[in-house]
């Protein structure tokens, strides 16, 4: 089970306070089973924690899925999220991954309006962000972009003038940097 949740010795963070809210990046290994996502989402709803994003997918072992959850909250909420998640039968490991120790990526598909010939500036933008065109038609281009949240935001700003038709944006996925694993 988890490491943080069982550390009984450390002084606990302050109970409900007005301390600064910050993004909390959480990695979790859960059973790859129907209903697990519901249980996790319900826990956040029941405890009044906000989920900014949640990404889940199967791991190399098909028995388990890995979730990356981004939530907003102070130290108290961070501590409680970890402890409450740890109590779920379907959750095997859960940890807060500090920003400086995280490799984080967000994946995004952006459908952009094009008229007639391809705009060179648009192509440059797509190339600058390391994005790929995965679909095109006489009226549209769909770009696949991967980056951190800020860089994806910048891409969207950059292509907005051309006319963004649709965006499909996944939440953050995170691993520890280096050899460390969850």
């Amino acid at each position: 089970m988890t490491t943080e949740a069982q550390a009984g010795g450390s002084k606990t963070p302050a109970a409900p306070t007005t301390a600064a809210e910050a993004k909390i990046l959480i990695g979790a290994i859960v059973n790859n089973h129907f209903g697990v996502l519901t249980r996790v989402a319900e826990l956040f709803a029941k405890r009044c924690y906000n989920i900014e994003s949640l990404v889940v997918g199967v791991t190399d072992d098909p028995n388990y899925s890995r979730m990356t959850i981004v939530a907003m909250g102070d130290d108290y909420i961070r501590d409680q999220i970890v402890k409450q998640l740890s109590k779920l039968y379907d959750v095997h490991r859960v940890d807060v991954i500090p920003d400086e120790q995280a490799s984080v990526r967000e994946h995004m598909l952006v459908k952009i309006y094009v008229s007639g010939s391809t705009n060179a500036a648009l192509t440059d933008a797509i190339n600058d962000f390391g994005a790929k065109v995965i679909d095109f038609s006489p009226e549209s281009i769909t770009a696949e972009v991967t980056g951190d949240a800020a860089s994806n935001d910048r891409f969207v700003e950059k292509v907005k003038p051309y006319g963004v038709l649709e965006i499909c944006r996944a939440g953050a996925q995170a691993l520890y940097r280096g050899a460390r694993c969850l």
Binding site: P13, E42, K83, K87, Y89
Partner: protein
């Protein structure tokens, strides 16, 4: 471990359920049949010599009975209901068990697998409905899984901080055949012991304290840690108070035990709790009812939290140090590290607090209820199981009934479920070898689930039911008097219900108590009765539960008597 039953060549899922229950050591289950559990009930019929099924009047009563059985015995309670409304009728009972950490396994039938998700007749997503109030839940998709799932469910329900687990079994899974063998009971997850450094720090906090107060909760009974707690208190010359859930964990006659703390606690316990320089919470969770105003509560006090559930540490208040793990082991380790210390100044202060409490005893506005409680207590034993419903009578019992033994007090502490008591008393009675059992209830609470009188009469349980009948929803009325200028919106029960006639209609007996002279003869008759007996006690409509700390208030706001102007309105 050898499976208790040799695997037969083939059996149905329903048979696997019943055999698994027997293998888990279950002797009695509570429930109500229906279309989606016909197979299961057929197997219960066949196995009735090995496992007893108690039919209640309503699934909610069955859930409370299984809960009461679990609280009285410490074993996992089992309740069975059919799909749809049968399952939803369990929800309040499951939530009650969840909030009070009671080990419960609820088995529901569901429609056949091909009909799942089609809004079929009597179909409901009971797993989805109960996710917030269960430790875990399973839907069984194949008869092959039945026994493993049951074994796992019992393990989850009873391990760590106990709680309810739901198993949903579609009708076709009950009917289909399996060759899987019956799983043996699983070892519970062992609770860890605290690390040496953490113990040392906790011991130092206790040693440094001048005014230690041990605030004990339901976890003490769960862990069977009463003796260890008393040893620790003795070693540090500490006083002990408790949440309502912690009440029966320690003998109320013990000189260190000040009784319940919190909103409606005993005055000395409340005062000592507020005056302590170190509060050691043991298997308790700093509920709002126990702490009152959190900011004032934590001021100038250090906190040591000992609990099996890591998530409780820091949840309701920030604490200075915590020991997460097995209570019994933690307390024992702490006690053995203690250097026996006398704290005479603290004990003197506490003696003054007790004197204050005694001085207020006569204007505490509960004389009628107290005399009933005292008269009942003269007829009960230390081991008598006492259930309550929810409201003023519940608080009067918590304050005044001298509980002496763990697992004798069945009450809905966390959820505050009116209508809990009768079902719980029936379950508790069966769990306690069908010995004499007492239910204290109110005219409001009793009316909620009195259909279970039918169950009590069928079983012939020796149940004495004391109704504190004030013709009102007394606790809400008390708040309306205090905070809503006496506008008694829907709390006057002008119902004309004759509870004695009602008892007779159910096949039980009863007596009305209109005044002090009626009480003793009525109780004599009640306690001589072999079956359920209703004692309908008229009490004043405006007796209050005192002391009272208003919600969000502090010890400085404590009311120990009714304000004069409110006394005038009587």
């Amino acid at each position: 471990m050898e499976p208790p039953h040799a695997p037969p060549a083939s059996m149905t899922g329903a048979e696997a359920i019943v055999r698994s229950l027997i293998a888990q050591g279950v002797e009695v289950v509570f429930g109500y049949p229906g279309g989606s559990v016909l197979d299961l009930y057929d197997e219960l019929y066949r196995s009735s010599d090995q496992i007893r099924h108690v039919l209640t009047a309503h699934e909610q009563g069955a859930a409370h009975a299984a809960d009461g059985y679990a609280r009285a015995t410490g074993r996992v309670g089992v309740v069975i209901a059919t799909s749809g409304p049968g399952a939803t009728n369990l929800v309040t009972g499951i939530a009650t068990a969840y909030l009070d950490s009671v080990p419960l396994v609820a088995i529901t039938g569901n429609v056949i697998t091909p009909l799942l998700g089609k809004d079929s007749f009597q179909e409901v997503d009971i797993i989805g409905i109960t996710i917030p109030v269960t430790k875990h839940s399973f839907i069984v998709r194949s008869a092959d899984e039945v026994s493993e799932v049951l074994a796992e469910a019992f393990k989850i329900a009873a391990s760590g901080r106990p709680g309810p687990v739901l198993i949903d079994v579609p009708k076709d899974v009950q009917a289909s055949r399996t060759t899987a063998s019956i799983a043996a009971p699983r070892a519970l997850v062992a609770a860890p012991l605290p690390l040496e450094d953490d113990l040392a720090q906790a011991a130092a906090m206790l040693a440094d304290s001048k005014r230690p107060y041990l605030y004990c909760g339901g976890g003490v009974s769960c862990a069977g840690a009463s003796d260890e707690l008393l040893r620790l208190a003795d070693a540090h010359d500490a006083v002990i108070g408790c949440s309502m859930m912690g009440l029966a964990a320690l003998p109320s006659s013990h000189p260190r035990n000040l009784g319940m703390t919190g909103m409606h606690g005993r005055e000395a316990s409340i005062l000592a709790h507020a005056r302590a320089d170190l509060v050691v919470a043991v298997g308790a969770r700093f509920s709002d009812r126990a702490t009152g105003n959190k900011a004032a509560y934590v001021k100038d006090t250090r906190f040591l939290h000992i609990d099996i559930d890591a998530a409780e540490v820091g949840k309701n208040i920030a604490v200075d140090h915590a020991l997460v793990g097995d209570l019994k082991g933690s307390l024992s380790a702490l006690a053995s590290r203690a250097v026996a210390t006398r704290r005479a100044a603290w004990q003197d202060e506490v003696a003054d607090m007790r004197a204050k409490e005694a001085a207020h005893a006569h204007n505490a506005g509960r004389l009628a209820a107290r005399s009933v409680i005292e008269s009942v207590r003269r007829r009960t034993e230390d081991g008598t199981v006492v259930a309550t419903d929810v409201g003023q009578h519940q608080m009067w019992v918590a304050q005044d009934y001298p509980f002496e033994a763990p697992r004798t007090h069945l009450t809905s502490g966390g959820l505050g479920t009116m209508g809990y008591g009768l079902g719980a008393a029936i379950g508790g009675c069966l769990g306690n070898h069908a010995r004499r059992t007492v239910l204290f209830t109110g005219d409001g609470s009793f009316a909620m689930n009195l259909n279970e009188m039918a169950t009590a009469v069928s079983l012939g349980v020796p149940l004495v039911i004391c109704i504190f009948n004030n013709g009102a929803l007394g606790m809400v009325r008390q708040w309306q008097t205090l905070f809503f200028s006496g506008r008694y919106s829907n709390t006057v029960l002008d119902r004309k219900t004759d509870f004695v006639a009602l008892a007779r209609a159910f096949g039980a007996n009863g007596r009305r108590v209109d005044g002090p002279d009626d009480l003793e003869p009525a109780l004599d008759e009640a306690f001589a009765s072999t079956g359920p007996f209703v004692v309908d006690c008229a009490i004043p409509t405006d007796d209050w539960v005192l002391p009272m700390i208003p919600p969000g208030g502090t010890v400085a706001d404590m009311l120990t008597e009714k304000p004069q102007e409110m006394e005038m309105t009587r």
